[in-house]
Symmetry: C2
Subunit: 474 residues, 2 copies
Amino acid sequence: MAAELPTLDPESFRAQAHQLVDWMADYLARVGEYPVQPPVTPGEIRARLPAAPPARPEQFDRIVADFRQLIVPGLTHWGHPGFFGYFPANTSPPSILAEMLTATIGAQCMSWNTSPAATELEQVMMEWLRQMLGLPDSFTGVIQDTASTATLVALITARDAAVARAGGREGGTLDRLTVYTSSEANSSVPKGARLAGFRPDHIRLLDTDATAAMSLPALEQAIAADRAAGLLPACVVATVGTTGSTAIDPVPGIAAVCRREALWLHVDAAFAGSAAILPELRWILDGAEQADSLVFNPHKWLLVNFDCSAYFVRDRAALLRSFAASAEILKAGYDDAVINYRDWGIQLGRRFRALKLWFVIRSYGVEGLQAMLREHIRLGKLFASWVARHDGFELIGDAPLATVCFRQGGSADLDALNQRLLARLNADGKTFLTGTRLRGRYVLRLALGHLTTSEADVRRAWQLIVAAAGEGEG
Amino acid sequence: MAAELPTLDPESFRAQAHQLVDWMADYLARVGEYPVQPPVTPGEIRARLPAAPPARPEQFDRIVADFRQLIVPGLTHWGHPGFFGYFPANTSPPSILAEMLTATIGAQCMSWNTSPAATELEQVMMEWLRQMLGLPDSFTGVIQDTASTATLVALITARDAAVARAGGREGGTLDRLTVYTSSEANSSVPKGARLAGFRPDHIRLLDTDATAAMSLPALEQAIAADRAAGLLPACVVATVGTTGSTAIDPVPGIAAVCRREALWLHVDAAFAGSAAILPELRWILDGAEQADSLVFNPHKWLLVNFDCSAYFVRDRAALLRSFAASAEILKAGYDDAVINYRDWGIQLGRRFRALKLWFVIRSYGVEGLQAMLREHIRLGKLFASWVARHDGFELIGDAPLATVCFRQGGSADLDALNQRLLARLNADGKTFLTGTRLRGRYVLRLALGHLTTSEADVRRAWQLIVAAAGEGEG
């Protein structure tokens, strides 16, 4: 069959790949020329694609032409210098280069023997990241795909540990377990607790303090009330760097409560964790050394392509008790001497994600990554200073971690005013921000963190925001 | 910072990427020159890697040199023409090319608006795959990372549906739910049921018949016994193409039981589902039209890079009830008019996986993919005929789907004999098979399905097997 079809042989691949590389380099250089968000309506792109698959092979050049004409104009460009939405999902040249190799090799990293170098590189990369974050050497790590998955893994492990401590499932143990997180936690935390089988009405979304961080008194009161009601507090998920405003829960105090109450502590540092590689910001992980598990995403603020979440645990035996999967076909003689990462998470099959971490950390060095983070934080403070000095705007919080929350002020309905401002701002394709609700108020959010973001990009965004606010008043 | 560091600018990237493309094309052409499995011992590669991350940036050429000298020789080469282990994890030129673009764009596919073209291409690709498999148009699909994840998603949805049907969690509903699958189901099925919170002692691994398929009488008896004991049967996971021997559970009969008993039916067709694109093999999915959910892996036998699992559901409202995640930052005005795939699975963040499906299906056409599958099945039957004709070997089953189970015969302890045969065979790096236990007997397993596998490769593997068996007798 091989002779009948195009694009099968390595030499055709070579030619096609060289052509694509030129497009890729051009894209990286010129992504700012696209609208950040495409001016498309729901269903428009779908309507332009064939409703049925082709019976016969098509020429690769034609496929690439369609990619350029149908797909690229319909993308939201996350690497656009005007993209300040959500949190960054980075790419970087060394990471993209590693992904090219990963795809070519196609290694399956479920077990040591299915790719020994991939498993051992993952061990070493998790150790490098542990050192970079200043976590204790009692922590061991594994790469998960996303923080959603890692948090679900933590919640399942916590659930099983609590059930075991209570003597098993008899007597409705699982129905009595409770979980605590703040109302500012990422949506993946309450969702993960539901998926793990905690009763939806036993998931406590605690009040936050004035900084949008979890209220420690609220946590202690909730635990006490639940114990008084005969329930079994099982797990606290603390957030270091909330999605809304990068608020930092009081982890040292939370950790003390968890120790006293024998609760599992999971720290969700998905975005902000990367900042702990800066000595001056390592305090954001204070208390995390007492956590049972922690996740942060090198794919957010550490230049590694999505997906790559670093998940650390203190007691790997607890993780393995919940996640180990044995099957004859997976067994090997040296299983006791190696790590089989299939036993460390949900998925049996696993991509070779350690390679991009290796390429990125070596290409930039820890000092290079630190310099980038410091620059983003400087730009965030600069932007915040512009907002604070402008009479028409209100700065919300102090933007410690390169995400700035703010809103247009005035006497009207400020929520509606700012929703209209955001819609107007994003509509012209020059910049893109997201809005969120913070302690009841609708705010705009400028999230920095992409490799290529410059002061000029941030200044331009500010000018666009001020202009769009002026239009709204006219 | 940009000016200080290497590998940052698009022109350096262009040069480096062109160099890597040549390595990649060479790798695809010459992968057969490596040992399939590397002659490394546990810890050997790790010991050669620095224990701490570099402070300063390193030159990219040096990183690539280390990749070639330290990593590549330590990989198991899944694309090696002598690799016949597990199930294939494919790559193909158009898929690798798509992965290059995916990595460059770095699109986040959690919501329609975070990448409209990616969401709509995913809708269209799932529709193409649905048509290719001959599933009813009442099914809608979503790309999950792996079958492990998709099966966990199915089990959680089934759990929530059963709890709702029972009137909620009061009275220990969850502790009364039961799940049924066969003892030949993939390890991810009982593992997924545990993760979803089903009681471990309520997960029934049913007996199989002589073909290693689920015994329908065993299923009916188990359900009746559980109902008599006051339990609540919730879900059956049927396998089309077991990992051990590609056995096919009697899905039409299982579906009838599930309808009668109001149980969720999930069909795990991870490997074999691809074969349903052949009209002459579409029968393997008979009954699946009545399933509530089904998963198959284009990354196994349809030339798409791992990870890419196609997950279909009949009632998308049930899926959304369990998996929808709302958060202010994720909301958009047109949410009712679009699909937000973040609500269709565990992960909030999602890679742009539809692109590689599009590239592969168009590059080969449905007829090209069918031709490849037919060739693999022909080679499987050819290999099986060699085994059957050889006095020293015993063929196990009839190898309908390009996976052949067999073992060396004789009068000794046949399990030990075949374990030694496998160890000897895999040790020299020319070929790689896996062993498994099938209905109590240890057997060897030759799994076909890689793009480049030729008759000569299969013949060579057979010669090596015969020679290794002869050595064992000597």
